[in-house]
Amino acid sequence: MKSWANLAIEKALARRASYADVRVMDIRHRDISTKNGQVGRMSEGESLGIGIRVIAEGAWGFASTDRLTTEGIESCVAEAIAIAKASAMAKRHDVVLAPEQSFVDTWQNPFVKDPFRIPIETQIAVLLAADAEMRKVKGITLAEGSMSFRCIEQLFVSSIGSAIHQMKMQSGAGIVATSFAGEEIQKRSYPNSFGGQHMLRGYELIEELDLVRHAPRIAEESVALHKAEKCPEGKRTIILDSSQLGLQIHESIGHPIELDRVLGMEANFAGMSFLTLEKLNSLRYGSDIVNVVADARLAHGPGLGTFGYDDEGVLAQCTPIISSGQFTGYLTNRETAAAIGQPRSNGTMRAESWNRLPIIRMTNISILAGDRKFEDLIADTDDGIYMETNRSWSIDDRRYHFQFSTEIGWEIKNGKRGRMIKTPSYSGITTEFWNSCDAICSRDFWTLWGTPNCGKGQPMQTMGTGHGAAPARFRNVKVGIASSD
């Protein structure tokens, strides 16, 4: 890896790049899925290549190739330079980067069990056992399970002298029980919907999830949902479970704080942000108890947004995003930090693979735990709805107006959890919603969720992000509009 990277830097500088950085990535994956007692997807793969980013004539160019030969790399460098020169045709000013120091380092996330060394038949057996448990429940029409593993080895080398070797091991799994009856499809997922839980951990994560033990419960709930109450329509107190709150953070905090979006760089596709520059340190984003950080450090936990260094060679950091309800920080890179006069990038540049340009991505965007026990939160609520596990999600292209629904809910009356509610939904305006937060559960109820499927950029890049959250309560929220006839 090192010789390829050094060759690329040397050739880029020889072609008069004023800056160059190179990522050589070797990605290995294993994906397994099961459905109704049979193995569905069963594949392994590897992908090795180099991505070369240069500034020439004051503009950016990026090219990538999997031809890792001297000729292939030289050709790729030449193309990156040619692209930069083409970019310069439409430039308004030269690219300016915030200063950054060089690092020579290695980093790896800790894990106990290498998932690629666990026999595949063991992994299939777990999924099929969970599948069998789900299908034992009368009324289940579809039982599905999946596991996925990624091992990403990466060398970053830059023309300012950085050489950073990182290795990430990522594991994830989940199961879903679906029930079709009458005119209705209901489903329950564990531990989360849309692929389950994913973290920078080894196979020990899968063992801890204990899919088989939870399979009967979600299957029973899936069937029971057909007879559950419909979500009422109106304004209600709601309590969100930690996984749904994690997605709420992702959509209504994580995306709007991306500074490239704020500066219009994503306007054509992902959209822009209501968090215009004058709002920094002046907007009341949430209530006093809302504290949110962007934390890529391992100390925050092994989330999908955890790393040693970002893909521009900037050290992982913790940035306060919302502090006691006040909006205090964006996600930046070296270019956008310089554009708004900040002294340094806070390290959020990430690329899906060797063939993609690093762009600003969420790291671990997490709400800090509060002081309430979950049972006390329920007991302290006279009239509300507890909502669990995301089912649908949507938000406008400036991140003001959102609507979410969850797989299941429960009515809360006089401090007690009561009747089951099917497909509860809620909607609102981002800042109004976060300002209505009046209770957050403690660290004992806080989970660092992994969202493996965040899409952004053109060409689209899929990235994993982390979201730590604990159940929280929100007052006076509009509910039920999605399910009204």
């Binding site: 899925s33 193995v39 083409a86 439409a90 079709f180 054509n268 063939n355 949507s394 053109q458």
Partner: protein, 471 residues
């Protein structure tokens, strides 16, 4: 944006936006080179049956925002994917390394993965050679597009935006893709295509407009005309006012139609109905939509792209999915067809998969009405340019939620009466397709939520707009 995990990718050779075009020379590896890779693997394989997919993509994308190019990228890559079958078991391994040792390793890995699985009772023998209908989706001019070609077009659009005191953002991409599917029973199929894509958003202080087009042929893309269209939308949607949510007649331009009806595609899969998760479960043969709605899957349609064969090499058939509002046919992979006692239609995904198949070349019947005629005939309604962040709320009623975006207009007494703030909708597509009052001619439409399809503009009564956002 969090992507729905279940959104299916086409089986193969569907080029994602982009291509690499360093210079005006041919980047293709060529059919013979792809065949040689496959033949090497057949020699190395000890499996009962072996299938090899080889894909080669060169793509490039020039991205602009704030009237300047801010990202400009290119990629080149080859993927070799090997499926082994042994004793009724199958598995897949892939690599992008083409050296002898890597090919040996990926071939062995596919076999090892297959050996440790339970037997698959639905697994069929691989296909032998097939006769394919030819399609021509390759343009040498698209393949030869250079960074400078794209930059010139983008620079011109940026200058136009400057002149109009607007801000432009968008992409111009070109790509070239080759794909070969071969198996040890003698099947060898090859497909190549090119793709050019231009998408532009024009912004003003309180408004925006958007336009997008894709084609195999770069000549058919007119960046300047698209930018003019987006620019006019932005100018026309200045000072949006808030009108209350409710049921309105909606006039949806083709990209807005596309992004909604695109959510139907997997419902047409035999597997989806077999699994009872399709909105057509229990509804086949019953009148569901208006009599003016007919839908085909037709890879051979002149406005469509994509290979004429599926993930197993089965020739794709033209399938009538909806006839006069009645869902009449589904698409089937070979295995699903056997399970459901139907005939395979050539729409299967690459194996192994639990997802079966899907139609990727939907073509809707259209009408003859112009958008202007739809507006003139509307007493009170909304004209929609584009929709955004659409997600499924109810899979059986097929209720979708999402937002309007980049040009939402109030229509009153037969004319456009200014711009309005964007709405959230919660709308059943089944109800929508039962309420279509007028349609335009079906055109190739391109959006962001669904793959490109051939759909018309539609005038729909009683569209459910449930809330309003702040802009």
């Amino acid at each position: 944006m969090r992507k729905p995990a279940k959104k299916k990718k086409a089986p193969h050779a569907r080029v994602s936006s982009g291509h690499k075009g360093l210079a005006a020379h041919d980047h293709r590896l060529g059919q013979s080179a792809l065949r040689r890779i496959a033949e090497k693997i057949f020699k190395l394989s000890e499996a009962d049956e072996t299938e090899v997919d080889v894909s080669a993509v060169t793509s490039a994308l020039t991205r602009f925002a704030n009237n300047t190019i801010h990202q400009n990228v290119a990629e080149q890559g080859v993927t070799i994917s090997v499926r082994a079958v042994v004793d009724g078991r199958t598995a897949r391994a892939s690599t992008n390394k083409t050296d002898e040792e890597s090919l040996r390793r990926v071939t062995a890995a596919a076999l090892e993965l297959a050996q440790v699985q339970p037997r698959n009772p639905n697994l069929l023998p691989m296909l032998g050679p097939q006769k394919l209908q030819k399609v021509d989706r390759f343009s040498a001019k698209t393949a030869a597009a250079t960074p400078a070609d794209r930059a010139r077009a983008v620079t011109s659009v940026c200058k136009m935006a400057d002149g109009k005191k607007q801000t432009s953002a968008g992409i111009f991409s070109t790509s070239l893709s080759e794909f070969a599917l071969a198996n040890s029973r003698g099947l060898f199929e090859y497909y190549q295509d090119t793709r050019a894509e231009f998408s532009v958003t024009m912004l003003e202080k309180d408004s925006s407009g958007w336009a997008k087009a894709t084609s195999a042929r770069i000549d058919e893309i007119n960046p300047q005309a698209l930018a003019e269209r987006a620019s006019k939308k932005a100018a026309d949607s200045r000072s949006p006012r808030e009108v209350p949510p409710g049921q309105y007649t909606a006039i949806l331009e083709p990209p807005a139609v596309l992004d909604l009806v695109g959510f139907l595609f997997y419902d047409f899969a035999g597997t989806s109905v077999h699994d009872q998760r399709s909105c057509f479960t229990g509804r086949m043969g019953k009148k569901l939509f208006g009599g003016n709605i007919s839908i085909w899957d037709d890879v051979y349609h002149p406005l469509q792209l994509g290979p004429p064969f599926d993930g197993e090499g089965m020739p794709r058939q033209r399938v009538r999915l909806v006839d006069g509002g009645i869902p009449v046919n589904l698409v089937y992979s070979r295995a699903t067809a056997k399970q459901m006692k139907a005939k395979p239609t050539g729409h299967g995904f690459s194996l192994p998969t639990e997802d079966g198949e899907a139609p990727f070349n939907l073509v809707f019947s259209g009408g003859s009405a112009s958008t202007e005629e739809m507006i003139r005939s509307t007493e009170r309604g909304l004209l929609l340019t584009r929709l955004w962040y659409i997600r499924e709320v109810d899979p059986y009623k097929k209720v979708l939620t999402g937002m309007t975006r980049d040009g939402t207009f109030f229509v009153e007494n037969g004319r456009v009466a200014g711009a309005v703030r964007n709405f959230r909708f919660n709308q059943s597509i089944i109800d929508m397709l039962a309420n279509v009052e007028m349609m335009g001619p079906a055109v190739r439409a391109s959006g962001e939520e669904a793959f490109d399809m051939v759909v018309p503009a539609m005038k729909v009564r009683d569209f459910h707009f449930t809330e309003v956002t702040k802009f």
